[in-house]
Subunit: 355 residues, 2 copies
DNA sequence: AATAGTTAGTAAAACGTTTTACTAACTATT
DNA sequence: AATAGTTAGTAAAACGTTTTACTAACTATT
C-alpha cells in the first residue's frame, strides 16, 4: 500500500492519513494543542498515534530543538565498582525523567577526556557530569563558558564557582584517623596517590591534621595513578613498610590502593589487625568478605547518584535562567569491622599468652 | 561580525566564507572530492575547516543518513564487574573505530529491556549487543526481522541463526568438575540459578554430565535471580548445606552466587577447603584476595570484548550484503588456587594429627 | 450592519546535512 | 569547425521535526 512500507512512520504520514496538517499533528504530540485544536481532532490524532505506534524521530527533534535528552557521565574508570554502582543508580533515576545517561571512562587522561568532550559536543548532549582527570580546570572552565551545563563529581575546584556533588573528604579522613587513634594505634600510615585532585588532596590534608592533633608523625606514601595496579606500586608499598617497621595501622586512600596493599600484606604474611590495622576508603564486597573483614569509610552511593541526577535535572530545567550553583557535600560513613579493632589484637595476644 | 556568533559553525557558513557551494564543502568533508574538485579548492577548504575547528552536526547527519555511529550494549547489570570490565574494553576498541558504545542494564527484566530497545530504536542506534533477559527470544527475533544488527552476548539461542559471542559453558563446567573429581572430591554440589538462559542451563548440563561420568550424584541448588543478593538466597543456601552434610565441594555458577555463598560459609565457620572445596565462575579481585584464594573458571574478558566489537563492526560494514552469521564460542580458563586443592586438605589434616 | 475577537486550524521556513541530477567551460578527437 | 568527453563545480531536494505568522470562518458586541 504505502510507498515505503519498511521505514518508520512520520508526522507527514499521519497528517496525510488523517487529512490534517503536520502542524496540527505536531501540536498534539507536544501537548500544545489545547485551546487551539478541537477536542475531537486531538482525540482522533492521539488514537491514530497510539494505533500505529508512532514515535518521533529523535535526530530530527534534536536538529530542530538542539536538545538530545542525553546526559554524559564521564568517570575515571567505569569498571571501578564505586563509579559503576553510582552509574547504575543514575541510569535508573534518569530513565524515569526521560533522560539517557552515556557513560565513558577517561582513564584519568587529559587528552582522552578532551577527545570525549569534543565528541559529545558534536552530539549535543544536554549536560555533562564529569569526574575530571588531573589538570583539567581550564577545560571545565571552557565548557562552562560555552554555556554548557556542567556538574562535577567526586572532585572539584574549591576556589571556583562550579556545580558539584562531592564527599567531605577532609572530615571523613579526620574522622577515620581519630577513630584509629582512639583504638590505640600509635603509628598510623597513609597510602595515597600523587595527585592534585581535590579528593586525594583533601584526604591527605585530613590525615595530616588528625595525625598532628594526636602528636603523631606523618607517615605517608604516594603512588602515581598508573602504578597502582602494577608491580612498581606493590614494590614501592613493600619498601615503604620495610623502611617504616613501626607502622601499626594504615589508611588506604582509595579502594584500588587497598587491593594492591592487601595483596602485599598477604604476601608478607602480616596479620591484620595484630601486626597492622587496616582501613580503606570505599566499601566493596571484597572488604566485607576479607579475612578479617576490612573497616571502610564508605561513600553514600545512592545519595550521591540521587543528588547528581536531581541537581543536573534542576540545572537543565532552569537553563538560561539565573540560578544558584548546586554545591553539595555529603558525609562519609565509617563502617567498623575487625581489621581495625584493637580489642581483636588484645584477644589474640591473650590467647598467645595462654598458649 | 557574524549574525549568530555564539552558535556553532555550519557548512553553510564555510561555503559563504569561501565563496563555494555547500555541496563542494560536503564533498571535501566526506572525502568524495577526488576527481571532482580541484586540488587547490580541496586544500583551501581543508585548511579553513582546520582553522575554524568545524565539526559536523551529528543529528543532521543522522537525519540525512540514518546512521548514528552508536552501538548499544545492553547487559544484565553494568555494575557487575564481569560486564563492566567487558564494557570498558569495548568502549576503548569502539572509540578507535569512530563508534560510541551506550551501556545500559536490564536488571534481567523483560519489560525494562523492551522499553530500552524501543528507546534506542527512536535514537536509531546502528547495532545492538544484547545480553538478553529471560524469555526474550521473540523480541530478539523481532529486532532481527526489522533488519537491525543484533549481536548476542553471554547467552544465546542455540537452535536459531543469530550472531553471538559466548563462552563454551558446557565444556568449561565439565572441565571444572573433572578437575574437582581428579582432586579427590566425592560429593560435588552445584549452585546455580533457576533460569532458561543458555549460559546457566549449559553450566548445569555440563555439571550433570561430568558428575554422572564420575558416578556421583547430582547435588544442586537453584536460586531465583532476584533472591541471590537477599536474605532469602542466603537462607536457601544455608538449608541446602544443612540438608546435604556430605557435600565436600561446591561449584558456584556465577560470581554473585559465590559471594553470597562465601558469606554463608564464613558465617557457618566452614573452613575452605578443609570442610568444603570451592570453585566459582568469573574471576574477581575478591576471589584472588580471599583467604584462602578461590579457584575460578575465568572468562577471557579482553578476547570477549575484541570479538564482540570486531564482529559487530564487520556486520555494520557489510550491512545489506548477504553475510554469514558471526558465531563465536570461546573457551574458559581454569585458574587453580587453594580453595579447591586436596593437597591443602591433607596438609591441614597431617598438622592436626601431629598436634 | 459593521467591527472586533475568538476558534480551529494551515503554510512555510528552518535546523544542518547528503546526494542526485545538472551545467558551463574547457580539452581532445575527428 | 563541429562534436564528444572531461573537469570542476552547483542547485535543489530531502531527511523529520518545531514554530512563527498567517487566515478563514464563526461569534459576540456595538
Amino acid at each position: 500500500m504505502k510507498k515505503k512500507d519498511q521505514s518508520r512512520i512520520s508526522i507527514k504520514d499521519i497528517a496525510k492519513e488523517l487529512n490534517l496538517s503536520i502542524t496540527t499533528i505536531s501540536f498534539v504530540i507536544n501537548n500544545k494543542a489545547k485551546n487551539r485544536i478541537s477536542d475531537e481532532v486531538i482525540a482522533k490524532v492521539e488514537a491514530y498515534i497510539e494505533k500505529v505506534g508512532y514515535k518521533p524521530n529523535s535526530s530530527a527533534q534534536t536538529l530542530r530543538t538542539g536538545k538530545t535528552n542525553t546526559i554524559v557521565f564521564m568517570v575515571e574508570d567505569i569498571s571501578d565498582p564505586f563509579f559503576s554502582s553510582v552509574a547504575k543508580e543514575m541510569e535508573e533515576l534518569a530513565f524515569d525523567s526521560g533522560y539517557r545517561i552515556i557513560f565513558c571512562s577517561t582513564e584519568n587522561k587529559k587528552s582522552r577526556a578532551i577527545e570525549l568532550i569534543s565528541m559529545f559536543k558534536d552530539r549535543q548532549v544536554d549536560a555533562y557530569i564529569i569526574t575530571p582527570p588531573e589538570d583539567f580546570e581550564d577545560e571545565i572552565q571552557k565548557l562552562v563558558s560555552e554555556n554548557q551545563i556542567v556538574m562535577l563529581f567526586d572532585r572539584f575546584y574549591k576556589q571556583a564557582d562550579y556545580n558539584y556533588v562531592v564527599l567531605n573528604n577532609f572530615e571523613a579522613t579526620k574522622k577515620t584517623i581519630n577513630y584509629l587513634v582512639g583504638e590505640g594505634f600509635k603509628n598510623i600510615a597513609f597510602v595515597g596517590l600523587e595527585s592534585g585532585l581535590s579528593t586525594l588532596f583533601e584526604r591527605f590534608e585530613g590525615y595530616k591534621e588528625a595525625v598532628a592533633d594526636a602528636n603523631m608523625n606523618d607517615l605517608s606514601l604516594h603512588l602515581n595513578f598508573e602504578d597502582v595496579r602494577s608491580k612498581k606500586g606493590s614494590d614501592l608499598f613493600d619498601n615503604f613498610l620495610n623502611n617504616n617497621p613501626n607502622i601499626d595501622a594504615i589508611l588506604f586512600s582509595t579502594n584500588s590502593l587497598a587491593i594492591t596493599g592487601l595483596k602485599v600484606l598477604k604476601k608478607k604474611n602480616l596479620e591484620i589487625p595484630l601486626d597492622i590495622g587496616v582501613i580503606t576508603f570505599d566499601d566493596r564486597d571484597l572488604f566485607e568478605l576479607h579475612s578479617p573483614p576490612i573497616t571502610v569509610m564508605a561513600q553514600p552511593i545512592s545519595l550521591l547518584a540521587k543528588e547528581l541526577i536531581n541537581g543536573t535535572l534542576k540545572l537543565l530545567k532552569n537553563k538560561n535562567k539565573v540560578q544558584n550553583k548546586i554545591q553539595i557535600v555529603l558525609e562519609g560513613n565509617l563502617v567498623i569491622r575487625k581489621s581495625s579493632k584493637h580489642t581483636e589484637i588484645e584477644l589474640k595476644r591473650s590467647k598467645a599468652t595462654r598458649a
